[in-house]
């Protein structure tokens, strides 16, 4: 009975979320008390569904790009040829994390203009760090005997990487991706301050017109997306960890 409860709650959240973004009108009576002076209750300058999909698309593009670059970099600095870069890459990751997202967004505007591009740049940079850090942890904490065995079996460097090292680090790398996606989902809303089409538009419209209902619906959709994606990725992570016989970090 108890094991069913979390699954049931999540299913309910999915149903609620889909119902809300496709038919926000149904929920109008619920949000009505939050508005004053007959202000519109449901965001009316664009469809919530379109904004949600655009929001997810922005996060997806940035995360995929960040994953490819971060994992490639982590592989590079853990090979003998790139070992020189390992300490420096660690300090760069540390420095990178101190840049506030708003600053990155605002500074990217003169280079690439308003809209989706500065948001993608900021999300990409933020996404890089957790994935790189986890990929590095995964690749540097492999059980030594396994790597030795692969070497002893006569595997080439490439074979060891693709057949042993990467599959074994997959759960830890996935953990980094999960962290990065959740951060990106929330950060993407700030992108709307530089005219990106994300759910932040709804929240900012609410801030500007003092409409609490707008702020709440924008914020809750993002939060629900983040919770669901976090759970989904955690499940995949546990599954790969079990298959690899390795504890997920």
């Amino acid at each position: 009975m108890k094991a069913w409860l979390p699954l049931l709650l999540r299913l309910a959240l999915v149903v609620l979320l889909v119902a809300f973004v496709t038919n926000p009108g149904w929920f109008e009576p619920l949000l009505k008390p939050l508005t004053e002076n007959n202000a519109p209750v449901i965001y009316n300058q664009g469809s919530l569904l379109t904004l949600t999909l655009l929001h997810l698309r922005t996060v997806l593009i940035a995360t995929v790009a960040a994953t490819i670059v971060a994992v490639a970099l982590a592989i590079l600095v853990t090979r003998p040829a790139g070992a020189e870069f390992l300490p420096l890459s660690r300090s760069l990751v540390n420095i990178g994390q101190t840049f506030p997202p708003v600053a990155v967004l605002a500074l990217a505007v003169p280079a690439v203009g308003f809209g989706e591009k500065p948001t993608l740049i900021a999300l990409f940079l933020y996404g890089l760090l957790p994935i790189f850090e986890n990929a590095l942890t995964g690749l540097t904490t492999l059980p030594a005997n396994v790597v030795e065995a692969a070497r002893g079996a006569g595997m080439t460097g490439w074979q060891r990487l693709t057949k042993v090292e990467l599959p074994l680090s997959a759960p830890i790398i996935l953990g980094g991706i999960r962290l990065s996606v959740v951060i990106s989902l929330a950060t993407a809303t700030i992108g709307s301050t530089v005219a990106a089409k994300t759910l932040g538009e709804v929240i900012i419209a609410g801030l500007l017109s003092n409409n609490l209902a707008f702020i709440l619906q924008g914020g809750l959709i993002v939060a629900a997306l983040a919770v669901l994606i976090y759970d989904g990725l955690s499940a995949i992570e546990r599954y790969t960890a079990r298959r690899m016989g390795r504890e997920a970090a």
């Binding site: 020189e84 870069f85 994390q97 505007v109 801030l207 976090y230």
Partner: protein, 387 residues
Amino acid sequence: MNIRFDKLGVVIAAISAYAAFAAPFATFRANRIVPGQARSILEALPATIGALLLAIIVVAALIALFRTPLVLRLAASVVALAALALLVGVAGTFLTPAGNTFARVSPASGFWILIFAFTLLLADVLTRLNLSPWGRVGVLVAASAAIGLLLISGSWNDLSILKEYANRADSFWAEGSKHVTLALGSLAAAVIVGLPLGILCHRVERLRAGVLNVLNIIQTIPSIALFGLLIAPLGWVATHVPGAAALGIRGVGTAPAFVALFLYSLLPVVANTVVGLAGVPRAANDAARGMGMTDRQRLFGVEFPLAFPVILTGIRIVLVQNIGLATIAALIGGGGFGVFVFQGVGQTAMDLVLLGAVPTVALAFAAAIILDAVIEMTATKRRVETA
């Protein structure tokens, strides 16, 4: 003689060659919002000084390119950075027509790329030197002092970012102190509440999952939404609770920003306290119990000191994150450096954006270095003591 290349040096030499010879060093604009015209190093500086700067860059890049002693690399990066910092101010004075108060000169992509390249070299040298925590703080202090001297000496006064500052000197410091108060105040509140909450979660297992789940969910609410959502309840408190308004609690402004930052700060503090306490070796606890220590003595004498570095790591995460997030407070009238960032974005005046963004980044960076040093010191102290 066996000449060997430094791998990182190849990267540094390549990007600095591009930046020095192909990218613009400074941008000149007739007023603050029109599109600018690019100027290369030789166009932006008097002929001899421009040639001197190019020579310094070439020599420093060559030192980076080959395998050279660390001290030489350190000197090359410091000299190159200092020359760039000094001469960008000279370019400002040189390019601004005498007596013209509308013209703006700002550093362009070439300058920023060169700064990046030689900072990379400096970072690499400092990493390889493996400085002690005090050494790192010392480097930070020296760098801040150098930048402070440049600012006071007025050699950057003809650059556009300082012209924006000159127009807003009073509000700059007012917003700056608001920014710091928001970031540090919410951190202090989070530590005061989060530490006992973390200890409670550690002791009472049934509470742990629930509290951490709630705090996790708060983290998923986007910051601008959380700021906005707090406006209503705080507005209600201000009008209905006697004395609240007198304390400065209002629907918009600093109060919701403070509460939002506080809520975001709780998770790292509580989670790291729980993790830190859970990591205390069982043997240490058993020994303390065996010595007849009470629960309270054990907490303050054994568990807390051992968990301290982990808790500090949580505090570092919070501080750096809060300094960044406080910029968003400007959207709900909470003040802080974000005011300049959003005004600048609104007016497409990038110098104004920089006036808000540069101090924010500098603050976050300094906070990270100082707290990292403190964490390392407490962690090594613990190892020495337990060894």
